[in-house]
Amino acid sequence: MSSAWITTRAWLLMLPLLIVMVAVVGWPMVDTVRLSFTDTRLVGTGGEFVGFANYTKLLTSRAFLGALENTALFAVFSVAAEMTLGVLAALLLDQQFRGRAFVRALMILPWALPTVVNAMLWRLIYNPEYGALNSLLTQLGILSEYRSWLGEPGAALWAIVAADCWKNFPLVALIALAALQAVPRDIKAAAIVDDAGPFARFRFVLWPYLAGPLTIALVLRTIEAFKVFDIIWVMTRGGPVNSTRTLSILVYQEAFSFQRAGSGASLALIVTLIVTVFAAFYIAMMRRSGSRA
């Protein structure tokens, strides 16, 4: 068989898939780009070509800057907390203790729950009248009266960060645990004989094996956090007073609540661009760790 025929056959076999991909991904993307240069509305009039008007208006609007800030805050703090908690949990679960297998299995649970279920759960916990958090904090004497955690602009974003963290740190913990179990026993033993303290052991024995997988987890989690939508939509719908409105929520509101499809499309493309930058970074990381091994 000639190699030309092999190549041709390969393309022929991939053709159906390519057609489907173009139909469901490629064409909508192209159409979104077209839409973003028009003032199309979801219903009724519009559809005129307006150039970069959508973009300039958006990029200078208070709504966009506010959403960008919320997204960045959410991403930085939730991811930082997830990474820290995840690594700590992995270090604990890497120890020998009775019931370890059970705790490991239990830890996956929050991550395995659907986001909507998790969000509902935390709405109950944060409930201003009968929420568990209020009763816990007042009983401990930390809080004098019940608060509406999701109803106060200063607290809502942090409440969601905590909920998201609870859901996602197990993933980081699992990745870190897998990495820790790949640390050769003899290197750990050598560090013990060498009288290395806990910090030196982490730095010189565990970290070399953790760094690669954790970088990948970090980038993946950051991409996810930048696209965050469902947990916020279920818990606050972007409120109160837009204090939890992130970029994805804004895209949704722009396109569907305010029915400005053209403007929504341009915003969606901006978010896509931001996430693509992270993704490119991720691919570069993968390449590097791949060539190193």
Binding site: P184, D186, I187, A189, A190, A191, I192, V193, D194, D195, A196, G197, A200, F204, V205, W207, P208, Y209
Partner: protein, 362 residues
Amino acid sequence: MSTLEIDAVTKRFGALETLKGVDITLESGEFLVLLGPSGCGKSTLLNIIAGLLEPSGGDIRIDGRSMRKVHPKNRDIAMVFQSYALYPNLSVARNIGFGLEMRKVPKAEREVAIRKAAEILQIEPLLERKPAELSGGQRQRVAIGRALVRDPKVFLFDEPLSNLDAKLRTEMRTELKRLHQKLKATIVYVTHDQVEAMTLATRIAVMREGQVEQIGTPREIYDNPASIYVAGFMGSPPMNLVEGRISDDGTRFQAEGGGCDFPTPANAIGGLTPGRTVIAGFRPEQLFPTPPAEAKAVTMEVEVVEATGAETLVIGHIGEQTIIASVKPDQAPEPGETVRLNFAPGNIRWFDPESGRALPNE
């Protein structure tokens, strides 16, 4: 400079009994070589001495002090791991100096020690590299370096030269011997290499399935193996073991299937009673070709001739049994020939085929 007592040490991993009661007492400055097949528990024993594994029973004593519940870092030992166990993101120099760094030895002092170790191990040009950029043999020398910079009570080496080429291995062996003579350190050393065992050890312990089969000086182990197992393990090629029978008048040994027939030594030992079956053991290098006019002990049909350099190995059979003779190259026969061999009868070791133990000597 410390004594080391291994007192009735046992170790179980679940249902698996890896060490079944090991007793060894080392004087200060002894160089003990642990010899034994893969999986017999050598690394496990080293790990127990180091305190990295807890024994299921028994105790380790260093300088008479029980090491029970003493943390590895407080036992004052240096260990070279079978798998090297280098810190992956530290340079060679920092790897070597790590134990000193953790023990707060001043930098200047550390650097002198690192330089000296690197010089002995011929890895000076590699000091700034990372372990991933080294070959197996280079990594192994870094692992040795980590132990050399320390001045511990006991050194533990787990097959430290296994990955070096022949020349480097010989050089490092000499360096280790020199080091031992200079430091008068107490050393426990695992190896599969006969030459290393013979040249380095003050005593050799031959291990078998979690027990010490025999312990003694290299000469004792080589000349007077306590069992067929030790005889077959020491020496390469190992001792010839020929099964046969003492004649009814008690004066001759006759191999089963013929080909080997010689008078039992006059000073014959208690165990060689007339009519009993025994195994005669003699080393390949004790055999020498003998002219037809003279008495012969062995008639061998040669199958394979292997020139190894200084000696030529002649492999063949007497009756059903295979034996090996080591002769001078100019005396080597051709394959297919039948050769007559003799040896000094005093050099024969006798074993009981049932128990595998040596019969009492002299």
